[in-house]
Symmetry: C2
DNA sequence: ACCTGAACACCGTTCAAGT
DNA sequence: ACCTGAACACCGTTCAAGT
């Protein structure tokens, strides 16, 4: 609040004329970020649409510091967030899912996207230099671990360390969509 | 730090004789929490084992305030966390996954569990009374939304609001495992 | 209607001084 | 080796007082 006030060339106390508290400000910020989400593609399968939405959402969340934390911490009451929810629900509903399945799938997908961005961003140190230092530390530690206690970990150390977060994110999205699709197929038979 | 010092009947400055800073303390705390994870079941399919591990992990994380945030924020260097990683990797590796696939699947599963707990816990207000109030607010808002702008959301309002977080968590775990299994099956053919 | 100064009740952390 | 008092540089928030 103090830093924002400074940016606005005003004193911190003045902010409370426009906003009840910091939480309300964050909720407004969260909704503003959701305004950046593009509309889902209007062609392609429901799977392809949801995959594109998930990837786009992750990209936008990663571009705004703390955005995932804000979305997780504030209830989805703003118009832009509601619109994003509406669009996800519409894709699933049109694909033939029941009301309950649509609600479940939309919630799991949303939590997955927000959750993975949270897990990824909370872990990274503030500076890029500190991130590199920690990464090097981890690499060294993993290699130096006792093989008797952590046989699999030591054997897979390279595979564990060299991995793109985006690739793993996408992999999980596709796995989730696989599972959701199977559930749909099972119900139809 | 100040509150912990008080609990220990000592002044806050004394803590810095035992720990470099708050982050180090949190890392130790995170590892202590991981000591509670039970060993994976030694019988059953790899899917059933991983599902049990995910459910157990979620239960323990939900039982300790801020535990998911701590795990996400600190690098996995402690012995108990490393042991948990080793066990997940071992199950996947023994199931026949390649080194890269094992690393990917383990990471996605772990991020999913931590991420969903994060998403769930960051959202809940401190007091149970406040949680109930917010829930009521949400219910009322969802019902009062304009049908023209949010047709699917309004139609599915009940299904969206009445949902157990555990059930949805488990649903996502199973969907993920479905997807991971499919990937394995595809490679084998 | 909006802004400000001053205060309140908090944080994590440092450091010289004690024992 | 461990503890302490006192300080530093921060927070979010309130409120009477100004215009």
């Amino acid at each position: 609040m103090r830093r924002l006030a400074e940016e606005l060339e005003v004193k911190a106390a003045s902010l409370y004329n426009h906003v009840q508290d910091k939480d309300e400000l964050l909720a407004l910020l969260g909704d503003a970020i959701c305004a950046e989400f593009p509309d889902p593609p209007r062609t392609g399968s429901w799977r392809a649409r949801l995959e594109a939405m998930a990837v786009n959402t992750r990209k936008i969340l990663m571009a705004h510091r703390d955005s995932a934390r804000i979305l997780a911490a504030t209830p989805p009451l703003g118009p832009n967030r509601l619109r994003a929810i509406e669009q996800t629900l519409a894709v699933l509903s049109e694909a033939g899912f029941s009301a309950a399945d649509t609600a479940d799938a939309a919630h799991v997908l949303n939590s997955y996207v927000v959750g993975l961005v949270l897990d990824e961003t909370l872990g990274q140190p503030a500076s890029a230099a500190a991130a590199r230092r920690r990464w090097e530390e981890g690499r060294r530690l993993f290699k130096s671990l006792p093989k008797e206690r952590y046989p699999t970990l030591v054997r897979l150390a390279d595979a564990l360390i060299d991995a793109s977060p985006e690739r793993r994110f996408l992999l999980g999205v596709r796995a989730l969509l696989d599972g959701i699709e199977q559930r749909l197929a099972k119900k139809r038979t």
